[in-house]
């Protein structure tokens, strides 16, 4: 038929099938968007701690949605209820979907029982970012820390999550470690479950 548009008619978001998550955009498109997110938030803060908190908040919004999306799509509406289960879900499933690879490592803190670390040699969001000297230890990975906190919190594992640069022997660039410190209630519940 001539003149019939090949456009899809508008359908409510809930009436459309959930995408399979296979679509891609260029890394550059994401990098420019992320850069602008950081620049905008710089105009809204007076100090670096505030900038970190705002990036973390933005990430949290992403994490909460990612949990819902993945539990529905990949896990048949089930989610992890145990500490190691949810940690490995973040380190493997979430990382793979968002960053295209499993995180480089997941380790338990050596000094504190409630601490875990996910480390990445080169965090995707930091790929093109050089931190100016006057910003000290600031790490844009705060956004990723926020994503992790969003996933954990929404799954019932409240935690404090922070991003840190860790210098590596023989490497020009430090790696980023996402430090997860679980709330007391999480460890108590875990102990009860045995």
């Amino acid at each position: 038929m001539i003149g019939v548009s090949k456009m899809k008619p508008y359908t409510n978001v809930l009436d459309r099938p959930l995408s399979k998550g296979k679509l891609e955009v260029s890394l550059s498109a994401f990098a420019f968007l992320f850069s602008e997110l950081v620049q905008y938030n710089q105009t809204q803060v007076d100090n670096i701690a505030e900038l970190e908190r705002r990036l973390e908040d933005a990430g949290y919004a992403v994490g909460a949605r990612v949990l819902e999306l993945l539990c529905h799509r990949d896990k048949g509406n089930r989610r992890e209820t145990r500490l190691l289960g949810i940690l490995s879900f973040v380190h493997s499933t979430v990382w793979k979907v968002l960053f295209g690879k499993v995180a480089d490592s997941l380790e338990k803190g050596t000094e504190h029982d409630d601490e875990y670390m996910i480390s990445e040699k080169e965090l995707l969001v930091n790929r093109f970012i050089s931190i100016p000297k006057d910003m000290g230890t600031f790490n844009c990975g705060a956004f990723v820390a926020g994503i992790v906190r969003g996933v954990l919190d929404s799954a019932g594992f409240p935690a404090i999550v922070t991003a840190h640069f860790v210098p590596m022997d023989g490497q020009q660039r430090p790696r980023t470690t996402i430090l997860i410190k679980f709330a007391e209630e999480v460890l108590q519940r875990e102990a009860r479950l045995g």
Partner: protein
């Protein structure tokens, strides 16, 4: 071995935003490098006007007795130029690689302010690698 002496990046108003020395001889102090940049900016502009061919985009190669100067200007007006030993090959390719590094490690850095001097560790690291690679390629000729 053919050598690269120095690299300049100048913004669209002629301000020097990046300068790096690679040779051991002919090092310049800051004032001299700023002078070279603004001089080149003007000469490049004048050459566009003087050129007998219409649509000329300015000087791409200046050959002197003791050096070659290869210049690439992006459509957005940023100029990249390398000064090298006379007869050094593939400099236009190198400039293109440098332009790409600039779009990656300078323009995608949220802490870089447009048109301002470039201070980005990652740009420096990747640039050094690109120039080394280029030297290796030249050695292999």
């Amino acid at each position: 071995m053919a050598a690269i002496y120095s690299l300049y990046i100048i913004n669209k108003s002629g301000g020097l935003i990046f300068y790096k020395d690679y040779g051991s001889s002919g090092r310049m102090d800051t004032n001299d490098s700023l002078r070279v940049a603004s001089l080149w900016h003007s000469m490049h502009a004048i050459s566009q006007q003087l050129s007998p061919t219409t649509g000329c985009q300015g000087i791409e190669l200046l050959e002197a007795d003791t050096f070659d100067l290869h210049c690439f200007q992006s459509l957005t007006g940023t100029k990249f130029f390398v000064v090298s030993e006379p007869g050094t090959q593939h400099m236009d390719n190198l400039l293109k690689v440098i332009y790409e590094l600039y779009t990656d490690y300078v323009l995608k850095n949220p802490f870089y302010e447009m048109e301002m001097p470039i201070r980005c560790d990652l740009f420096d690291i990747n640039l050094t690698q690109a120039i080394q690679k280029d030297r290796v390629a030249l050695l292999g000729r």
